[in-house]
């Protein structure tokens, strides 16, 4: 392609040179340039034809089924969905969209969380001061923190409702039992995420909420120094499971740091992995479970062990 074009330009030059109509400036023919310019403008009228566009969007976006399928399957984000879906699953009233909303909230929380991490130091004195700084100094800081907190509360709600929907539609049944278990683990991780987040502003509300929460850990049987058989196993306030959780006998700077790391790195990591498994199993266990055709009592097939 490249040498061909140069030949044409050389011809243009040699022909012009030969004709020597005297208008050449520095060896470039203005008419050629004008031609090229008009060609570019015309190309712009149909952007989707340009190389640039085509390099980005490999799939053409017309209304044909093939393009619609490819649109989903060839997109790294969208290929979470199958190409086609049960016609009735599109309606709101079946799935209530709770799983999707939870996932969306998870992303909102991750983004607002990362932004908050720019301003937050998990040390005893500085934590509270940073929250004050966020509230008063950082532009949109208050909004950011509120979004993060209310998003968290909303996510807990949507996760519960999602479980509720999955149960009521019996979607945990064969073959999706394992996926239900992953869901329960994700539920617990969400609660832990919110629980560790509660402590980070280092104010009285968070401090005492976490203290009450971790006091329960103190009473773990065998591992807690106040739980049954704990003392017998040599558990004291300084080596039991609560101490492991808090990194100290009371909720102070160590607890703050550990909560910070759990909240920002560890649990989101686990949650993300379990989500991946969760989404994978949804697709592999047959996609959205319904609304499936109803089975009658008499059609129950005998169990094969």
């Amino acid at each position: 392609m490249a040498e061909q074009t140069t030949k044409t330009t050389e011809q243009a030059q040699s022909s012009n040179g030969a004709s020597g109509n005297g208008k050449r400036l520095f060896g470039i023919d203005p008419d050629a340039i004008k031609a090229k310019a008009t060609e570019d403008i015309n190309a712009l009228k149909k952007p989707t034809r340009t190389d640039l566009y085509k390099s980005i969007f490999r799939v053409k976006h017309d209304d044909t089924p093939r393009s619609r399928t490819l649109g989903v399957l060839s997109n790294v984000f969208l290929h979470l969905h199958p190409a086609k879906i049960n016609r009735d699953a599109v309606a709101y009233n079946y799935t209530w969209g709770m799983g999707g909303i939870s996932f969306y909230l998870f992303w909102v929380l991750t983004w607002t969380g990362v932004l908050l991490m720019f301003y937050y130091h998990p040390t005893k004195v500085q934590a509270f001061r940073d929250i004050l700084y966020l509230e008063h100094d950082v532009p949109f800081g208050k909004l950011l923190r509120n979004m993060h907190r209310w998003g968290a509360h909303a996510m807990v709600l949507t996760v519960w409702l999602h479980m509720y929907r999955v149960f009521l539609t019996g979607s945990y049944k064969k073959p999706r039992q394992f996926n239900w278990m992953i869901g329960v683990i994700l539920l617990v991780l969400t609660l832990l995420l919110s629980f560790t987040g509660y402590l980070l502003p280092d104010d009285q509300l968070g401090f005492w909420a976490v203290t009450v929460g971790t006091n329960m850990a103190r009473a773990t049987p065998l591992l807690g120094h106040e739980g049954p058989f704990g003392i017998q196993l040599g558990m004291t306030a300084y080596n039991d499971v609560r101490f492991a959780l808090l990194g100290g006998s009371i909720v102070d700077s160590n607890a703050l740091l550990r909560a910070y790391i759990w909240h920002c790195v560890a649990i989101p990591g686990f949650a993300a992995t379990f989500m991946i498994v969760h989404f994978w199993r949804i697709r592999k266990d047959g996609g959205i479970s319904g609304p499936a055709p109803m089975m009658l009592e008499k059609e129950i097939k005998p169990l094969r062990r």
């Binding site: 989903v72 969208l78 509120n146 709600l157 329960v184 109803m294 009658l296 009592e297």
Partner: protein, 311 residues
């Protein structure tokens, strides 16, 4: 009636999710059961007319011969996801602009907040603390809840209702779940937030949260009530009572399981292990309201007292 007190509790920014819960759970329960009853009606029809059963697409949603069974994800599914994303963001934005996340005084270990409450979603557990020893309410019960939840698919041998709302076909499962989730979990969260005031005392809505409130309640252990004083004796007595409770409840549940023909059929499909796990889970779940009743009605503190733990 202290309207101001009621308003302060409800309008507290951190209590919005719980007030939301009080509206969302009933709404979605109604929404689900509406579809369940619609499906049940269709099932009855199909049962009644086997011919129709053969040809019917077996869904309440309308379906014609020529319509596609499956529709493209793009645009039909993605547009509604896009719409829900926008709505959720809008709600979040408005909520964040109007209400501020709470920021109380800096943490002061020497000053205990009264009432000092766990985050709102754990208030159910904190409420259980009133009735059980911390190790049961704090560790045993939560673990059993999680294990119970995980175990549901493996012990629910009823193949029906897989992928559609139905009440008739899964009456037992739905009731147990509603009892566990809505009543024991959500209602207890609401109680922990709105009703439990300073000193974790019971304040009816509209009562002023008075730090100096003193209530007289003397809870005595069961064996004290019955006058058994010898530790070994009441150790065994306690074991017997709890054991007895287990047996009676197990018998009760079995009675329920074999109530209708359909239940018996499902029971038959269950292996012994599935049956035993279900029994243990259900018994401990019922153990909570039983203990609450014992405490609230009969002022019984502990039933089974041993030197290492109490139940």
């Amino acid at each position: 009636m202290d309207w101001h007190q009621l308003w302060t509790i409800i309008s507290l920014p951190d209590n919005i999710p719980i007030v939301g819960l009080m509206f969302l759970i009933p709404f979605y329960t109604w929404y689900a059961f509406r579809q369940a009853f619609a499906n049940d009606r269709l099932i009855d029809q199909l049962d009644a007319d086997p011919e129709m059963a053969k040809t019917h697409h077996r869904k309440t949603q309308p379906y014609q011969k020529g319509w596609a069974r499956e529709v493209h994800v793009w645009p039909y599914l993605l547009r509604i996801e896009f719409l829900s994303a926008i709505i959720v963001t809008a709600i979040l934005m408005v909520w964040s602009i109007t209400l501020d996340a709470p920021l109380e005084e800096p943490a002061n270990p020497t000053l205990t907040m009264n009432p000092s409450k766990a985050p709102w979603y754990f208030l159910g557990l904190q409420e259980m603390l009133v009735y059980f020893d911390p190790w049961i309410a704090g560790v045993l019960m939560p673990t059993l809840i999680i294990i119970g939840l995980i175990a549901i698919p493996y012990i629910d041998t009823n193949p029906l209702g897989n992928g559609y709302y139905t009440y008739k076909q899964r009456r037992f499962a739905i009731w147990t779940f509603l009892f566990g989730f809505v009543i024991l979990w959500c209602v207890m969260v609401v109680i922990g937030t709105l009703i439990r005031g300073p000193g974790w005392m019971w304040f009816w809505p509209g009562q002023t949260w008075d730090h100096n409130k003193l209530i007289f309640e003397v809870n005595r252990d069961l064996h004290e009530i019955l006058g058994i004083t010898d530790p070994i004796l009441y150790g065994i007595f306690g074991f017997l009572v709890v054991g007895g409770f287990f047996l009676i409840t197990a018998f009760g549940i079995h009675k329920l399981m074999t109530l209708t023909e359909f239940n018996r059929k499902i029971l038959a499909r269950m292996t012994l292990l599935q049956y035993l796990t279900m029994q243990v889970l259900l018994i401990t779940m019922i153990g909570l309201p039983a203990k609450m009743a014992a405490r609230l009605l009969f002022r019984i503190k502990y039933v089974w007292v041993t030197p290492w733990f109490n139940v």
